[in-house]
Symmetry: none
Subunit: 192 residues, 4 copies
DNA sequence: GATGAATGAGACTTCATTCAT
DNA sequence: AATGAATGAAGTCTCATTCAT
């Protein structure tokens, strides 16, 4: 329960700075942005970046990891707070959507390999687990259509998150798009 | 005085081969794929690729151009055939979605700049025009919700098309996701 | 005395056109200008250029050859006309200088290897022969200083011809520079 | 707090080596010589060349810059030392001529654009300034002909410097050529 | 003979990664 | 640990030259 290795304080600070810088740089310039840019923005030497993340790929994963962790945390917080399963589910999607708009990296990383396999496994599994729970609960409460499974939800979210970048500047449009998808997720009103 | 067209045949065949190869390579490896790979797959020398498309950028645009043209053509065909505006609209989205699944490049190109500005302008405008017409007609007939505009629709489609790649292997899941979005696009049944 | 092989008339015309184009293109864009540009300006296909001059190097030499030939012809004409050896010598230098200004290629070709070895040998020898005759005659008549030999004269001319390009736009400056050198070539007024 | 300068030493040495190599390579093979050759001769990787000079153009300018600086320095030294304006002027030309023979690059760079615009501006202006001062002083003392201005002198020097490469191996010939030009620069003895 | 499409070596340049300091 | 110089593979693009038509 102690931090694994306890980096020297400045080392830890550097690592955090690098992550912050990477998040920003990759969001702004895409995955093709050079590692040098990250180092410069972080105010460290390029060597330091590679000392902390021995590969560009690993740096990417670390950034993503942090974001996924944040997302999972939010989900858990939402679950703890709310007691309306449908609302919780919707709030989570809204939150994820916002995050995608702000920290474009999630989207960017997804671009890369075409599937989320890049995610740090344990982390990804956790996200899927939480997502599954949210979905099941919402479906259980009858607020979300029954005929959608986890994989489909994930695919839908991927698309949704990506769409955010095409209307980044227009908040109301963004909300509109999200609302439409949320409407699509409502239980299908079975007419007799 | 006519024959001097014969050489062009080979050249045209090569050009087409290159486009096909580019479509495939960029779809599979992303926009970062090297031009060399395209040349190799097309079975021509690297110089030939650059003779036909003097820039990687132009090659990209050409690939996209071809696909957009195809999409526009399908839209026009649908309009000519069907007389149910709502159905036509839905069919078009389905068709575009399918296309995105097969020829992943559309997605890939969009990845690049984050907006469709890369599209050959005239072509892009044409696509928007057709899309707008389809939307307006469907909304006019009351089959599609009124509160969505062209920009939002485009953003939604962009995201949606991208999502297709996360569930490429599962056709029914793909259709399901699309259906959900289409449901979201239905007129909102205002309950009193 | 018949033309060696009698090219078909249009072939001969093409060859001349190519030479003209090459002269112009290389003069304007330097030796790095592409052979394609030459072909385009000549209004022929690139293949035709290479049929007539199987190497870029050979094309260059041909252009130069033509100019050297012209220069030799002028020298001979001057010798035939004038009977003032000093004046003839000076006129020739002026003529060469003018030519260098107009058809910059001479300069350009010299640039390349740094020495005139590129010249078509027989042609070059002829030029050196004529130049030597002009020099000797002028020195014999006491109008040109005795202490300069052919090699030095050639070097001086090379440099001088090149300098013409730095003051291309100003004719009087050009003449001035030449006059200064010509003054330097006068017999040194030996004071007793 | 001082040592962090040590690495720079190696870097500086490399930079100098690269400049030296570039000077040599461009002089020997012309401006078309590849950057790779420079790297090889300097004994560094190609990347190192580009780390120090991010463009071939910049490398060229740096080489030239160094030479122009040296020339200006010599001019200033001469001015400080000598008090015979005519002699100073002549010495400077001799010095420049020698330099052109040894470090042929000056010539080579001029080749490029046909005018010295490529020179690092401030540097070039300084050179022109010094040259102008030398000329004016020499003319003022009556040792150099009045009817030559700065532009003409520059053109004359360009030609002269270039000529040095055609008689590189023969020192006496070289001096001869220079003497001739210097003679031409003497005040014209107006005979009544 | 003419044409121009095809070729591929080679040029410049970038960037992830290594390593001496 | 941190630094940033060095490295070289790889990418885009150009161009002299070849060759099928």
């Amino acid at each position: 329960m102690r931090p694994p290795k306890s980096l020297r304080l400045d080392a830890a600070r550097n690592k955090a700075r690098i992550l912050d810088a990477a998040e920003k740089v990759f969001a702004e310039e895409g995955l093709a942005a050079s590692t040098d840019r990250v180092a410069t923005l972080a105010g460290v030497g390029i060597g330091t970046v590679f000392r902390h993340f021995s590969t560009k790929e690993l740096l990417l994963q670390a950034v993503l990891d942090r974001q996924v962790t944040a997302l999972v945390a939010e989900a858990n917080a939402l679950v703890a707070t709310s007691n309306d399963a449908g609302e919780t589910f919707r709030l989570f999607l809204r939150r994820a959507f916002e995050l995608a708009t702000t920290k474009k990296i999630i989207v960017a990383v997804l671009e890369k390999t075409g599937n989320p396999a890049t995610l740090d496994t344990s982390n990804r599994i956790e996200l899927l687990r939480v997502l599954d729970a949210l979905l099941k609960r919402a479906q259980g409460s009858g607020k979300i259509r029954q005929d959608i499974n986890l994989d489909e939800l994930v695919a839908l979210m991927q698309g949704l998150l990506q769409s955010s970048k095409y209307i980044q500047s227009d908040k109301s449009a963004r909300e509109h798009v999200l609302d439409i998808v949320l409407d699509g997720l409502r239980p299908t009103t079975v007419s007799p």
